[in-house]
Symmetry: C2
Subunit: 336 residues, 2 copies
């Protein structure tokens, strides 16, 4: 049945989001840069390669364990830039504020933006502020767009995975989604789960500076690891095999998922990435990631085995195999 109106699932990062893009955006706006559908758009300007990306942040609540909407807005856009292999340079921040929002909270968030920008070594150089009436927005939305500088010796793209590539995951999955959801619903677990929200450009720079054979980088935000692996498998026309045993999931995240009937593969992350590396360079890439802040728990979780229309297969802990689908609709609204 055709949906007549937009539903929450269209913002999920899963199948409905892709349908929306395919049916309503691409047919009208398609051009040779936009159609790549990578985390950043890449274009050439006066013989320099630049990356450009945009993201609106509507996370609810705006303060959560391990971060807030300001930190998220900077890290999310920094990560989208570096996932295309770019060195993030400049950000813009557009604020849409609900009337009645407190100055104290606004200042906390601006300070958080500043701290995350400093850690990521980027500058906020352009801004905009709009205010709308009560109930015309929910507290605060932030759009950050970003510009990065691309080295020419790499072509990192979701369509560059090849048979033989090892799939490296930079650490524990599910922390961000479970942290936000716990805060939202007032759930408490024995150990407080914190969002993993963090900038990843330092790790990426270290990998690329070594000249290692890395073909794809992508951060599993909305839709989780399942969504990004499916995207990459489809863009590159390959089958990706992953081993459940190798995927780092914290005990408390697994516990929360079990209670709520969720699969950690589909939970959003904000400080993790997957790298598809040539087999001969995989161990060295893993070593570099593990040597960096935010990459200490990295693992090789799988590999690309054959050409296909794009499929992700999970080898389960008990030895079976199952297809990991693209999430269709909505797991957690307003997770980022």
């Amino acid at each position: 049945m055709k949906n007549e109106t937009i539903i929450l699932g269209h913002g999920s990062g899963g199948k409905l989001s892709h349908d929306l893009i395919d049916k309503y955006f691409l047919p009208h706006l398609k051009n040779s840069i936009l159609e790549n559908l990578d985390d950043s758009a890449v274009f050439d300007l006066n013989d320099s390669l630049l990356a450009f990306t945009t993201d609106s942040y509507v996370v609810e609540p705006i303060f959560f364990p391990g971060g807030d909407i300001g930190k998220l807005a900077v890290c999310g856009t920094v990560n989208d830039l570096c996932m295309s292999g770019a060195e993030p340079l400049y950000l813009s921040c557009g604020f849409i504020i609900e009337e009645g929002f407190s100055f104290d909270d606004l200042e906390k968030i601006v300070i958080s933006i500043k701290q995350s920008a400093d850690e990521s070594n980027v500058k906020v150089i352009a801004g905009d502020t709009k205010v709308v009436a009560k109930r015309s927005a929910d507290k605060l939305f932030i759009n950050t767009s970003g510009i990065g500088f691309l080295r020419k010796d790499y072509k990192i793209s979701g369509s560059s995975a090849v048979v033989g590539d090892k799939v490296i995951l930079s650490g524990y999955i599910g922390d961000h989604g479970i942290a936000v959801m716990s805060e939202r619903h007032g759930l408490s677990f024995e150990t407080k789960i914190k969002s993993d929200c963090a900038p990843l450009n330092n790790i990426v720079r270290n990998i690329l500076n070594e000249g290692l054979g890395v073909h794809v980088l992508r951060d599993p935000t909305r839709g989780g690891l399942a969504a990004v692996l499916n995207e990459i498998a489809r863009q590159s026309c390959v089958t990706v095999y992953i081993n459940e045993d190798k995927i780092p999931v914290r005990e408390e995240v697994m516990g929360a998922c079990e209670i709520m009937g969720l699969d950690p593969l589909y939970i959003a992350n904000e400080g993790k990435f997957v790298a598809f590396a040539a087999p001969e360079d995989a161990d060295k890439t893993l070593e570099i990631i593990r040597s960096c802040k935010y990459g200490e728990s990295a693992q090789i979780i799988g590999e690309v085995k054959e050409k296909s229309k794009g499929k992700v297969i999970l080898k389960t802990s008990i030895g079976g195999e199952r297809i990991v689908d693209m999430p269709s609709g909505l797991l957690l609204p307003r997770i980022c």
Copy 2:
């Protein structure tokens, strides 16, 4: 009295907006590029000068006579880029959609984005879509960020006005604000007032290609002509004199303003700009603007007479003089 929370006036483009920026954003985020506070941020990359800008559009209603939020989002950002003297190249579009929004309206707006991008000769190369629950946003907000390429033979900035400069206004003021307000309140006038929403980069390109002595370009959107002239006067530390008789205002806009007790100097425009030109080049600049689409009704409306702390003085039709203040709070919420 200090406001404890954000009020609608903080998004007005007037004094409260400037206070918000000065008190909460600049102290934390200040850097040598951001602090210029021009319509676009300008930075150097590999010996190319680039302009970068961002704007969120929250106009209500999203369809109005002469345009819609999609056309506005493209033209507004194209105009911010060219007001810094840049040739607009690439845009991003970030959509925040309220659950229940219709696909038909979304498609109309995407088509409008495409048409305006084509007319402006820019490409949308990056996008993002978020969906929030009913009453967490009002229908649709769009953020567009943009990148443009700057020629090095010009330094266009709000701080570049000098004594002697002539002030050129590219056409009738107040059309956008009155069109949106009439639509919102169901007012009807004998002649339908249409928004002037239009891309201005073609006019600007023609001026700069002639190598004319133009020092400032700015488009009077939120806060109207009064706000931008005050901004320029303050940034350049000069007094700007304008003649009421020379300022083009349509009869029906003047009539609507009289009925509603508004001053057209404070009403938003979306397809107009002011140029501060050296006296010897003013007539030629005027001639070029008038020869272009969207500039046919341009006028020289005043001049810069002396150094000061920044002041705008209006010579009225009856021969008097009055200070034109920066608007303080809010005239029309959600006008762009």
